[in-house]
């Protein structure tokens, strides 16, 4: 009896007994994930603005695939549903952001479903995946739909919500790889000053994947996450350092830094908690590794773009990085060992 002798109070047997702490911070895993989803919206809105409504359909289709896969695994593993935690929605959005805007939406649904089930579900769900879910989805789609994944690009056109299917083009990095810098520039930019093409890249007026084209929109979302303390700068900055270093070997270092999916990858994919190292030192090694690999794949590998495989390759070494780079133990600071 909790209240004997005193008026009011909780009724008997309703008091909770537990270990401390009895207060918790306001942030939860799902609140973090929904903030990430919110931070992805500017890039999605921009994609609709320049590529039409199809990117929106593709995003919804990818989310549908991910959500279906997540729910299926909840049922199979007899867990309570995890749909509301926002992680499946996030994986779906990120997957869609790596796809060409002219793709058939059903492909995205298949990609999303496979990504969640094979990358996350079979490993035990939230927190247990080794690889970035969205990027495994993209890698599987590259293998499954190679033509669609490399040709369904749309030239950007502000306010044209229903561009005809026939209008296909290639990404600047693909042209750079095939035909060189001048041709790459010509694909999205005519006339103007020597460096005016950088503005078009920053704004997002170039062909490319749904969520990768506008550096400014990505930065807007990233700034929000940085201010909220959800992501830190160690990984993105080291990715740019690594990629910048390799880019110096190329004919178009600035084009490398400002195009492709490196901004999306650096701020939204490489920073995924589950698949990135825990300490700043580990994160720097991880980021530099991604940057170097991205550059090497672009310059010397078989693909025009390398960020996807660079992140996936570095995902493999995360457990080792967590072992090698531990937090500094305060109890041993200033103590001769």
């Amino acid at each position: 009896m909790a209240n004997s002798g005193v008026g009011g109070g909780p009724s008997a047997g309703t008091l909770h007994l537990s270990y401390g702490p009895h207060v918790r911070s306001g942030e939860s895993t799902s609140s973090i994930m929904w903030q990430v989803n919110l931070a992805l919206l500017p890039a999605l809105i921009w994609a609709v603005g320049v590529f039409g409504v199809r990117p929106l359909l593709i995003t919804l289709a990818a989310v549908l695939g991910c959500v279906a896969g997540e729910q299926l695994f909840c049922l199979l593993q007899k867990r309570r549903t995890t749909l509301t935690d926002g992680t499946a929605v996030c994986s779906g959005m990120l997957l869609a952001f790596t796809l060409p805007p002219g793709l058939s939406p059903w492909m995205a649904t298949i990609g999303g479903f496979l990504a969640i089930t094979l990358t996350k579900g079979v490993f035990g769900g939230l927190g247990h995946n080794i690889f970035n879910v969205a990027l495994i989805g993209r890698a599987m789609m590259m293998a499954s739909f190679p033509v669609a994944m490399t040709t369904k690009w749309i030239p950007p056109q502000l306010g044209n919500f229903f561009p005809p299917d026939a209008l296909t083009t290639a990404t600047p990095l693909a042209i750079l790889k095939e035909k060189g810098f001048e041709a790459a520039l010509a694909s999205f930019y005519q006339g103007g000053g020597e460096y005016d093409y950088l503005w078009r890249l920053a704004l997002g007026l170039r062909p490319g994947s749904i969520g990768e084209v506008s550096v400014l929109c990505i930065l807007l979302g990233a700034a929000f996450l940085l201010l909220r303390g959800i992501i830190k700068l160690w990984i993105p900055l080291s990715i740019f350092a690594g990629l910048g270093l390799v880019s110096l070997l190329s004919t178009a270092p600035l084009l490398h830094l400002f195009s492709g999916g490196v901004w999306l990858g650096a701020f939204f994919m490489a920073t995924d908690y589950v698949t990135s190292p825990s300490t700043p030192k580990g994160q720097i090694v991880f980021g530099v590794g991604i940057g170097l690999l991205t550059g090497l794949i672009r310059l010397y590998g078989g693909y025009p773009e390398g960020i996807c495989y660079a992140i996936l390759l570095m995902n493999i070494v995360v457990p080792a990085l967590n072992d090698w780079f531990r937090p500094k133990r305060v109890s041993t600071m200033g103590v001769p060992s």
Partner: protein
């Protein structure tokens, strides 16, 4: 209220080396109102076990009439004695509910006609000149334990083993746990007693430097003490007193963290503050030591913060030891129906109690009546390796790795991640967005190691 120098200059305020969190303070519920004297309770239950170690031994029997302040149980081993906190008749010596364990032996005293009738405690006019050994024995005879919560016998903490040299006494007025304000009120209402008590403790351990550590959410206390140090200058000589304001950041009031913030010294794992030349004592303990040495007055009351949104009138109460928590609740206008947890201590390191039918022991500095909105009762999720616990841990441990290993059934593989160093401050659990009970996982690992140790010893026939 004037601005502190550090605020004006934008200078960074002293804090511990790493980590920490800043939960909502909720101090405003009680920090503005003066300490209220609780009316004499009808009975008190004085537990024989008030601190770690051996329980005290009753020296009264059922039916004895006692005065407030009279010895009722003598110290055993390295423990301290227990005194009657009200005048009356010994009604029983037997089992009673205990705030920390389920039950314990207690002396029950029914209040007499004048419950506050005390044994006389005249001032010892030579109190300032007493030899250190006499001061120490008075502290012990007064039954004083650390009133900050740990309740370790104070005389033992002030007894330095041969070869140990300390140069600094730290008075801990950080009070970093949310809600709790009893030390804050103590500093505001008993500043002279606190300073003189600190002076005496400094004499006992033979140091001439005393730092008073206060978090910057208690500027009024810091300023008052600064002023009092000036006024009492001649009585405090030759000990040099200094108020040091530290950042409001939990666990600033944890002994080793406060030493880092105030002196820049680091106490290594498994070492004591005295190993880096420091002794730390709580504000209320200092006040109690002053009474003990100057008047030979034992520890009879303590200040208790009664707070939380589930309490009708949160306040600080001066309470005779052994008073039932129910009496305190009644003095605070009762509790609301919405209370879901009652916590003895602060919300970070305090422990829940199942009932208010428990008597107060020396270590109880506060009770919190938490509603659903203030606490967390939900489930926890898998670790997402966000590393917030690594940032929050003031020791640089890896609560995430420990919790994952414990979940996977490998509690004995966690030592390298810091299991044995953890002092369970709770910063990791507080910060965890997956709401994982990380401290509890670490406790599981510690228990597994202890069990493993016992099994090994048994196997070797020790």
């Amino acid at each position: 209220m004037s601005l502190s120098l550090s605020t004006v200059l934008g200078k960074s305020v002293a804090t511990f080396f790493k980590g920490g969190v800043h939960p909502a303070e909720f101090k405003e519920l009680t920090c503005q109102t003066p300490i209220e004297q609780l009316a004499a309770p009808k009975q008190v239950q004085l537990h024989l076990q008030q601190h770690i170690g051996e329980a005290a031994n009753p020296v009264v029997k059922k039916g004895d009439v006692v005065l407030r302040g009279q010895l009722v149980a003598s110290a055993v081993g390295s423990g301290v004695p227990v005194h009657a906190s009200i005048a009356g008749k010994v009604a029983n010596i037997g089992r009673a509910p205990h705030p920390n364990s389920v039950e314990g032996q207690a002396i029950v005293i029914e209040a007499g006609e004048n419950p506050f009738q005390e044994v006389e405690f005249p001032e010892d006019t030579a109190w300032r000149e007493l030899p250190a050994a006499d001061m120490l024995s008075r502290i012990r005879e007064a039954g004083i334990v650390g009133l900050g919560g740990a309740a370790f016998p104070t005389y033992r903490k002030l007894t330095l083993p041969a070869g140990h040299k300390v140069d600094t006494l730290i008075i801990n007025g950080a009070e970093c746990e949310p809600y709790l304000t009893s030390d804050h009120r103590m500093m505001l209402e008993y500043p002279e007693q606190m300073l003189l008590g600190a002076w005496l403790m400094a004499r006992v351990i033979g140091v001439n430097r005393c730092l008073i550590g206060i978090e910057d959410n208690k500027q009024d206390a810091a300023e008052l003490l600064e002023r009092k140090i000036g006024e009492l200058h001649s009585s405090l000589a030759p000990v040099k007193f200094e108020v040091r304001v530290a950042r409001t950041r939990y666990p600033q009031g944890s002994e080793k963290q406060l030493i880092q913030a105030l002196t820049g010294r680091n106490v290594p794992a498994r070492k004591l503050p005295m190993d880096v030349g420091v002794v730390v004592q709580n504000v209320a303990t200092a006040v109690a030591c002053h009474e003990a040495i100057r008047y030979k007055r034992p520890l009879l009351d303590r200040i208790v913060t009664m707070s939380g949104m589930g309490l009708n009138q949160p306040k600080n109460l001066r309470v005779p030891l052994g008073t039932g928590l129910a009496t305190l609740v009644a003095a605070c206008g009762g509790m609301k129906d919405t209370v879901v947890k009652i916590v003895a201590g602060g919300p970070m390191m305090g422990r829940t109690v199942p009932t208010i039918e428990i008597p107060l022991i020396k270590g109880n500095g506060g009770f919190l009546f938490l509603t659903k909105a203030e606490t967390y009762l939900g489930d926890f999720q898998a670790c997402v390796m966000c590393a917030r616990c690594l940032e929050a841990c003031p020791l640089g441990l890896e609560p995430n790795r420990i919790s994952i290993l414990v979940e996977a059934g490998h509690p004995l593989d966690t030592a390298e991640h810091g299991t044995h160093e953890c002092f369970e401050c709770g910063c990791c659990s507080y910060a965890c967005p997956s709401k994982r009970p990380l401290v509890q996982f670490i406790q599981v690992a510690k228990t597994a190691y202890r069990r493993d140790q016992r099994l090994k010893e048994a196997a070797h026939g020790k």
